[in-house]
Point group: C4
């Protein structure tokens, strides 16, 4: 989101000031107009996604099809105007266009235009449904609000700091899934039925067994595939306990990381007057006796 931090130099020239004003409203959220813009945009995004959802339900499409298409074009027009305005008022348009949010904004309006082209068939319209759902990614833009940004960045930093441990954990998950999946394939799969063909009981190949292993390890447990032999059930029970317990380790790691990050907000400065520690990093005066630090 560095885009939003682009410094738009104040300039007495009228056109630049106009651009600067629009920029503040559209990209920043410090002014009431900026916040209002963000709120309207958020509502529009949520409504447009609901339109996409309703369109996918056959019964609703038959009854309200025209209304939904109209709403779809309304939102597309709205987002197109917003896209053009963003390009117009940002200092470096190309940088925005190729940034993550620029691409998301473009993908949000493009499908509807492509559908209008006569070369689109029905199946391709369905595929564009997903792309239209990307509009919701624009919702992240809403969290431009300064303190929200710092929250998401703090989250991202804390997870990034623990990335080595998390990588070890994820590798362990993948390895367990492969090993146990292969074992279950051998124990439960490969049964031949009367015709000599391999019965399809969900463990017929290693990828299928790995799918079962993931379903079981994450404790989702659909039940569409489950072991039937005693040995298979025993191994499955071990897998379940492993998945059940395994979440403890990364949770403990991340908790400790967050606790450490929270503590770093405190300095170790000692107040000269009252010998008190534990002042926040941004404290100017000792909060216990009022003396200046």
């Amino acid at each position: 989101m560095n885009l939003e931090r682009n410094v738009v130099k104040s300039d007495p020239d009228d056109a630049r000031t106009w651009r600067q004003q629009i920029y503040e409203v559209v990209f920043e959220a410090d002014t009431p107009a900026g916040v209002l813009f963000d709120v309207i945009l958020l509502v529009a995004i949520v409504l447009s996604v609901m339109v996409i959802m309703l369109e996918s339900v056959e019964s609703i499409r038959h009854e309200y099809g025209t209304l939904l298409v109209g709403a779809e074009w309304f939102f597309t027009a709205l987002f197109t105007v917003e896209y053009v305005v963003r390009i117009a008022c940002v200092p470096r348009p190309l940088r925005y266009v190729f940034s993550f949010y620029g691409i998301v904004d473009l993908l949000a309006i493009l499908p509807t235009y492509l559908i209008a082209l006569p070369i689109m068939t029905d199946a391709e319209t369905q595929r564009l449904t997903t792309i239209r759902a990307l509009r919701l990614l624009r919702a992240f833009r809403i969290f431009k609000l300064a303190h929200m940004l710092s929250e998401a960045e703090a989250l991202r930093d804390a997870i990034w700091a623990a990335r080595a441990k998390i990588a070890v954990f994820l590798s362990f998950v993948v390895i367990s899934v492969v090993i146990v999946g292969s074992a279950m394939h051998l124990i439960e799969g490969g049964r031949l039925d009367d015709d000599g063909q391999t019965m399809s009981n969900g463990f017929g190949s290693i990828p299928e067994s790995m799918y079962w292993a993931v379903v079981t390890m994450t404790t989702v447990g659909y039940g569409d595939v489950s072991p039937t032999t005693a040995l298979g059930k025993a191994l499955a029970a071990c897998m379940m306990l492993l998945g059940y317990c395994m979440i403890i380790v990364p949770t403990g790691i991340v908790s400790a990381e967050f606790a450490q990050a929270a503590k770093k907000n405190m300095t170790v400065r000692v107040c000269d007057n009252c010998m008190a520690e534990g002042h926040e990093a941004d404290a100017r005066y000792c909060k216990y006796c009022g003396t200046m630090l």
Copy 2:
């Protein structure tokens, strides 16, 4: 629960003292009579809810119907008396009537009276079953006990303090559900059977797919709807691992918040005599050497 904190000024006048006494018993839990009242009320609430539950079972309703209806009227009468008493002894009745607990108390007795009215049909009686279940909300009143209140308030404050991070987390959940739901709708759904109609396999529309996504991401995994194609299974596996791992982040955040809150109960006061730190906020004397702080 500010209601309970209404200061009822002590007044030598007999009627006011009577009201004050009743108030202490009904709303406060400092006196033995107050605690006894709360215990009796809690038992009555639990029993009345069990009556509602048993009434909904058809076999029990046929056998014990009259007994249950009698019990229902008994409890309704009991709660009506309690409601009248509360209104009578509280300083500002209107404030109680329109507070959360006032409305809950009213809804707890109203349905039984409405059922007695001859205009009620059978279906509407069912709807009132839910409203009668709201009696259980009154159980929160039981936690009037001071230290319990502080516990629930501490919980509420800690969660409120982390609301920004939790909002980011919840948004991420919603966005994932929409994106993956739409993707699964495209991968698994929209299959036409021999008649040209869309088969209903649980992925026929985006809302249906989103329901599957929530079931999978929260690791509930009913199994009533599950992917059948290889690509669908692969995406489902990613979704499961995401849901399995995603709970780590907010847990770490909340753990750190609680740890911080727990530490803030300690001051950084240093005892003049023994140079010891770590005294509780309400400590008058140093717990290590007994000197007054």
Copy 3:
């Protein structure tokens, strides 16, 4: 487990010393003989439970029935001897007999004797299967080892310390299950089929719906009962997200409690020589410079 801490006064009298020696072996785990006794007992408990498990499998019972019955009597005899020895060597026998472990030990041997009585029928033998399974409760006795005891006690203390917050949490779970269960009963249940009878689809009564609510909220998700209407699915999705997120709060609470407990093991004593803090509560010498504290 205060029983194990009964001080058996040393006594020069031979009979008392004999009793004291046996006591040390059976109840304590400080001596090699005591540890060996505990290990043998643990192995015997595990094996006897496996005998019970194998007996319940019909095919195994038909083939190895006599062998299993013989093993069962062997273990019963072994545990009977142990029970008698315990009563014989403990200072206050009645106190042991009526303690938790005394009752468990008795229940562990009683069923086998009762089965031998000719008045027992087959169904009652099954019931005794459960009682025999209580033998496994005796496994807790194994954790007599001092540091293990302190671990389990530390766990128990930490959970007891947070009991108020946990009670609030559990109440919230129960209230949610009742409210959502009743709501789903109204939305999904009570459908009449062609004969006018209520269809049994799992939501036919409030207790049934509450069972579904528990299955869903704990993210177990059997799938034997699941919502079919759109509104029901929407409410179910909310329930799942609630159950998914709700585990965060008590986890954070307990994590903070354990962190606090861990810190309390450190005193705030300051070493006179090197000004170092952070010494363990049981430290005699400063671990940084060796000076006596």
Copy 4:
């Protein structure tokens, strides 16, 4: 992984230096060549496991069988060369051959050779599929990178430090599974159908019921076996809540352990100049005022 820490003394002799150079590339990851070797090895491992996975899918085996067998031999040859090189350049070959990674490396190449022997039947080839999957265990070798090692070791140490509490927790899980499994066996199982034979409804024996108990307690919840009686459902609901809540305790323990471990990285050294505490264990200079510690 002590193997990697074998000190290979530098030696001016040409043969030893050659061995030392190969050792650095193969076993260490400090040089660019060492990192490149590790990356190539990791890619080869992942690809060879994917070959095994694809081979198990019958349709792919029929179409691309020859190609996959060729790839399998390529990787086997590659890993054989690597194995020989490792034995050649390590100071104490026997110690490597019998270490965990030596055995894994051997098992990774052995099955393919065994298959080539004409005495292998089809069933035995399947069994070797699992052994070939062990190649993935070699992926742990990749985490030779120093800081990764320290991460995995920190994880292992933290878990080892809390092993007593975790043992108590696991025992509690096993005991719960046995007790509840036996109870459900009595409540739900042992029903006789019209022929007098025990119906197989998943609770027919204690081991089967214990399997259901594990499936439920870990919140996996396949749904292939679920209680049907009211009492059985009530007990199942308690089991689910127990499993749902039980994960809180070890999570709290491990979080506290990680938090403690994180804090121990800070010394209690006090800077002489600015009286500041909280310096990292590897700090040479005070980070607040720059004075040397």
